[in-house]
């Protein structure tokens, strides 16, 4: 459907700006527009995700969740955010001033860098690298540096233990995330996100890639949950053991940045899963059902994309509120003794499937 394509819109904006302003000014204005759009999106979606998390968690525990602030508690997260903005910024006296203040920015900048490569809809993508998958895995692991810095510079034993756990965990699970994405790259034959989405026009990769794609999807979900430091892999901030882990000493807006970054990372992992496995913004198509495919085309790609993303987010929240937290040794055992061998076998399987053309 052409009416849902943003390419002409963005192209018109670009040509309009280029005609009215000097080239450097037009580029700067475009940067600002894109930056503000991403900031707004991230802030609003982060607020929504916090609310959704609390509601979903409550429903899993037979509770109602926030109900008082606004209808169904809809304004609860906004109230919480305003409270966080007004809180005093406290810093431990013996903390490393520079690194302590730098750490939240590194974490959130890594998240913003990663979110920039995601295709939201046809034409609605700020950076369409031909090595998009590689770029995304690379920048999303920069965040761990911020977490390690936060733990180190806070000069607090809980922070340091939490940061070290987080480092060990993210470095291990980075392997599984990359390998499961690599499996799909083998299948798709490209690393470009727009091309990966375009390749799923007839069938999403999780259907056309059948067994190896499903295994890769499950592995990606598990490893992605660990990458975002969410439960059951949240031992970096295990409340019962480490107060709050690496962000124990942070307050106010700096804490909010860590908090927001965690939810952006959740969104990124879900969006990558939706894009690589579930077709991104591509509507649900079945081979020969012409009328069905046509009806599906009427739903805008943005809705398809966010529907899939919210589905994956729901599954990850389902993990979090069902499973108990793993120990450190259990986490590393799961990665090195289970996920990694499965992944390596799976990538061979996928190569076989691609070579023998045993896919739909």
């Amino acid at each position: 459907m052409d009416i849902y394509n943003f390419t002409t819109l963005t192209h018109n904006i670009h040509t309009g700006l280029a005609q009215s302003f000097a080239p450097w000014l037009a580029t700067t204005i475009e940067w600002v527009i894109v930056g503000v759009a991403y900031l707004l999106f991230v802030a609003l979606f982060g607020l929504f995700l916090v609310y959704a998390e609390r509601k979903v968690c409550a429903a899993f525990q037979q509770r109602l969740g926030p109900m008082r602030v606004g209808k169904w508690g809809l304004l609860q997260t906004i109230a919480d955010f305003i409270k966080l903005l007004m809180k005093e910024l406290i810093m431990p006296r013996k903390a490393d001033w520079f690194l302590y203040n730098l750490a939240p920015f590194i974490v959130i900048i890594a998240s913003f860098l990663a979110i920039a490569a995601l295709p939201f809809a046809p034409g609605l993508q700020s950076m369409d690298f031909d090595i998009g998958v590689f770029y995304l895995t690379a920048v999303s692991s920069v965040g761990v540096i911020g977490i390690l810095l936060a733990g180190w510079s806070s000069n607090n034993k809980y922070s340091l233990i939490g940061a070290m756990r987080s480092g060990a965990q993210i470095l291990s699970y980075e392997l599984s995330v990359s390998l499961s994405l690599l499996t799909m790259v083998v299948f798709a034959g490209t690393m470009q996100f727009s091309a990966i989405v375009e390749g799923q026009r007839d069938a999403w990769f999780i259907f056309s890639g059948h067994i190896p794609a499903i295994i890769a999807f499950v592995v990606f979900l598990i490893a992605g949950t660990a990458e975002t430091n969410r439960g059951p892999f949240d031992l970096a901030e295990a409340e019962s053991e480490l107060v709050a882990g690496f962000h124990t000493e942070y307050s106010g807006i700096k804490f909010a940045m860590f908090f927001l970054a965690e939810y952006i990372n959740l969104f990124i992992i879900s969006a990558v899963a939706a894009t690589v496995f579930l077709g991104g913004w591509m509507p649900l198509h079945f081979g020969n059902l012409e009328s069905f495919n046509h009806v599906m085309d009427f739903i805008p790609p943005v809705i398809w994309f966010f529907g899939k993303v919210l589905f994956v987010i729901f599954v990850i929240m389902w993990f979090k509120w069902t499973f108990p937290r793993l120990r450190v040794d259990q986490i590393l055992t799961l990665e090195w003794k289970y996920l990694l061998p499965i992944n390596l076998v799976n990538i061979l399987l996928m190569a076989l499937v691609v070579l023998t053309k045993f896919h739909f």
Binding site: A58, Q61, Q62, W318, T322, Y338, I342
Partner: protein, 160 residues
């Protein structure tokens, strides 16, 4: 080879147990009408506390203003923190015998821990735990209550 098979089996077993757990929470998630949260101030008209809830000690009276309390004072003895005071009085029965009956069963709600010992100890079952729990008052003196109503008397046939 045997250990390899065990390894594969352990993967499937692990996934299976995870799915069982997810099924339980999914059941909770998709049956929101079973939620246990009470929207308290809004639903106070329809709120029903559960049977064994202990809100306060009360003394039930019949419609003839009769209760079961003999004034024996066992509840006072059993109260661990002195929340109950029994004031009894002597009367002359119609047969001309002297008899001690309850004058005032004083109950200090502000001191009561709702431990239920007095209710358990009462030989005639005269006092029970009530369901009311909204006890906030502006004056501490209002928390001292007289459980037997004015003019009430002991019911016929209560064995002393």
């Amino acid at each position: 080879m045997k250990s390899f098979i065990e390894y594969i089996v352990s993967i499937f077993k692990g996934v299976w147990t995870l799915l069982v757990g997810m099924k339980v929470t999914a059941k909770y998630f998709f049956t929101p009408w079973n939620n246990v949260t009470q929207q308290y101030p809004e639903n106070r008209d329809t709120l029903v506390m559960f049977d064994r809830f202990r809100g306060e000690v009360i003394m039930p009276h019949t419609e003839n203003n009769e209760h079961l309390c003999t004034g024996c004072g066992i509840c006072e003895l059993n109260c661990p923190n002195g929340s109950i005071e029994i004031i009894s009085k002597s009367i002359i029965t119609p047969e001309g015998k002297k008899k001690r009956i309850i004058d005032q069963h004083i109950y200090h709600l502000g001191m009561c821990t709702l431990c239920n010992l007095c209710v358990k100890a009462c030989p005639t079952g005269a006092i029970v735990m009530g369901q009311k729990f909204e006890h906030a008052v502006w004056d501490r003196a209002l928390l001292t209550k007289v459980l037997n109503q004015p003019g009430s008397k002991i019911a016929e046939g209560v064995k002393e």
